[in-house]
Symmetry: C2
Subunit: 418 residues, 2 copies
């Protein structure tokens, strides 16, 4: 049971304003929020099928792919990872997870649940893998699938992928990249790199709400999934002979059926989450309209300004700075300062949310996001000013105005107008 | 690949208006659409946790239950069925599905995917089960779980549940009721009946968008699920010892972890689908504010008016009228009339969507929904007027004005103001 609140069952939804500067969700772009108030359509209405097709086309540009199989899973970001894994992995298949944080652990967990023989290679939190470690693990384990985060928000690290993708190809492993926290905020060229499965969520750099998950699948991945196609009773016709491969052990996440639903046969599966599809289309539309390159540059600038501001305040940045995600910055909580108390003060007095982290980093670092709608000057500056005030109130010594001044300098030198 | 559309990638979402009078989704209540444009909150923000608690409390009233375990699954309606099944059923468990339409088949499909030894008892489409048939099947198969639809939109039939619930108890089977299409539109007293698992969706009688699924679980069901609790790596602490039961073979649908997420420990699992939770809260708030009894009466009246109007037009109603769902009406397509042509004319010329059905009923019947926001006089009257015009245009002989006159009489005799 949730703790007892003073419930106001009939009240309007009228939360106090927040500025969400944690590792996500972040504030959705107001245009995305408005898109969700568009009236519903029937799922087979030609107008709705056109919106689905437009969403696919826009998402292909976001993923930098020509993959026909580019679509949405109706669930949060981890649902797309599970859909890919349960559809690709047969019980006993060896899956190698290269884990450099909590979301690597999550992929190992999901793979184990769906029956994989999971092997995990780890590197210390706060760093990323070198090529030799991955190569050795591929040689040792000979996996059919290699799964890795692009950016793991738990450690704020971003794994360079080019060499890993090459190694996966050389060792005949499909490559699954979890880009939940980086798509739209870092360069991620799915086709150029040769990624087989790439998954995401809306609530990070795409500036939308959590609840629907973009995914793209290479032709090789699709072929492997189609080999397990078993159309459900009540939908299949005489022409839908079961494929030879083992039936996928989930109905909801059966990508063979979901691909049929998104195909011109429009075979009934789930009822597409209409309003969330509108949100996904709007997220992708804004990103493509503004230009993917511009969005990536905006994230780089805002992240650099945030990190510069935090460093100028005398805080120690967390982790290998050469491989830091631009859109999430980790910073050590100063000795003697109650990290959760400062977070609470930020929320209560300024309406600003920042994050802590998981496991070994819980209470050791704060994580500050600068992504999506909040990868912008005003959000960074406000957060730094409030953090200085909260640190001072908590008894820390912080050079007055140094953080905001450093960040503003970064924005001004870049000529950023926003 | 979806068929090629004339894509307008940068266009606003500006669909031509529709009146959705099929078996769902139907038009969302405008208040629900507006609720989704409320700014996002962090998932552990006290304000958001309060909205979660309020949503639970409101949903308990909608389900007529005291079940503490009343919450949302972040997916479409079938996701809640799969979550319940994968969390309750261990491979090899005998599951009995009482199937009287396509959504009975779906439950058998989901149960089989998650590894159940599935037994199916069927009755002819257009009818419902008598008690003796269910009792005989329970005796023959001795299932640990009995799954049944409350209302199956594919046939428009509603299964009386009191005797089935009693039998399930007597034979030590948990009872799972799929109330996707009836919750909020028909009386369904989860506790009074003794239902162990009840699942729904928003896009039918609850007047919301598809994409999030209410579920309630009895203490007995919760106990069985908790016996399989294995908190994922990266989240579990030393106190989270794995339970003795078999680990659930899905991470996303692991109800033991989802219950922890909704508990006062707030253990991290998925990131709650913020905007869809807002929608669910608003759907339930409107229903509870207006009164569940009033909503059920409104559905009964609108369905009666629709059926009376169709009959007065000379159309033959489909199925056992004593057990028809109030909120969906099936009607035989008249001989010599192109059913899909009439549906297309309804959509193209009037902006009104009605449905056909699945499998043996495809092209044989139309299905007309009167539910949620569209269980109201204007929607019923407009649909009947347009259908008469489309039938006449297609060459059918229809008594002029008889349908609308009969339906209006029903509304007026009931003194319905809306």
């Amino acid at each position: 049971m949730l703790p007892s609140f003073d419930l106001n069952l009939y009240d309007d939804l009228d939360p106090a304003p927040r500025l969400l500067m944690g590792p996500g969700p972040i504030d959705a772009d107001p245009r995305v929020l408005r898109a969700m108030s568009v009236p519903l359509l029937g799922q087979f209405d030609p107008q709705f099928r056109r919106f689905m097709a437009e969403t696919q086309t826009l998402l292909r540009r976001v993923f930098q792919t020509e993959n026909e199989a580019t679509l949405l899973i109706d669930g949060t970001a981890r649902s797309a990872i599970e859909a890919a894994m349960v559809s690709l992995i047969e019980p006993g298949d060896v899956v190698l997870v290269a884990s450099f944080g909590r979301f690597g652990q999550l992929k190992a967990e999901i793979a184990a649940r769906v029956g994989a023989d999971v092997r995990v290679v780890e590197c210390p939190w706060g760093s990323v893998f070198d090529t030799a470690t991955i190569e050795a693990a591929l040689i040792e384990h000979r996996p059919s699938l290699l799964a890795v985060c692009h950016g793991d928000t738990s450690t704020t690290m971003a794994q360079p992928l080019a060499e890993i993708a090459r190694l996966a190809r050389d060792h005949n492993a499909l490559l699954l990249v979890d880009a939940t926290a980086t798509l739209g905020g870092m360069d991620l060229a799915v086709d150029a790199l040769g990624i087989d499965v790439c998954t995401a969520g809306l609530q990070k750099c795409l500036a939308g709400p959590p609840g629907i998950a973009p995914i793209t699948l290479s032709p090789v991945a699709v072929e492997r999934i189609r080999a397990r196609r078993h159309v459900e009773a009540g939908i299949r016709t005489a022409s839908d002979l079961p494929a030879n491969g083992k039936r996928i052990t989930s109905n909801y996440f059966d990508l063979a059926m979901i691909l049929d639903y998104w195909s011109d046969r429009a075979l009934n599966h789930h009822t597409e989450a209409t309003s969330m599809l509108y949100a996904a289309r709007e997220c992708a539309r804004i990103l493509v309209k503004d230009g993917l390159g511009a969005a990536i540059a905006r994230h780089a600038l805002a992240g650099h300004a945030m990190a510069s501001g935090l460093a100028a305040m005398g805080l120690a940045l967390y982790g290998d700075q050469a491989n830091k995600m631009p859109n999430v910055t980790g910073v050590h909580i100063p000795a003697g300062i109650d990290g959760d108390g400062v977070r609470q003060a930020m929320l209560d007095h300024y309406g600003i949310e920042i994050g802590t982290s998981f496991g070994p980093l819980h209470g050791k670092i704060w994580r500050l996001g600068t992504m999506g709608y909040n990868a912008r000057r005003g959000a960074v500056m406000t957060t730094l000013a409030a953090l200085e005030a909260c640190l001072v109130a908590a008894g820390a010594k912080v050079p007055q105005g140094a953080g905001t001044s450093a960040a503003l300098g970064v924005f001004q030198r870049a000529g950023s107008g926003r």
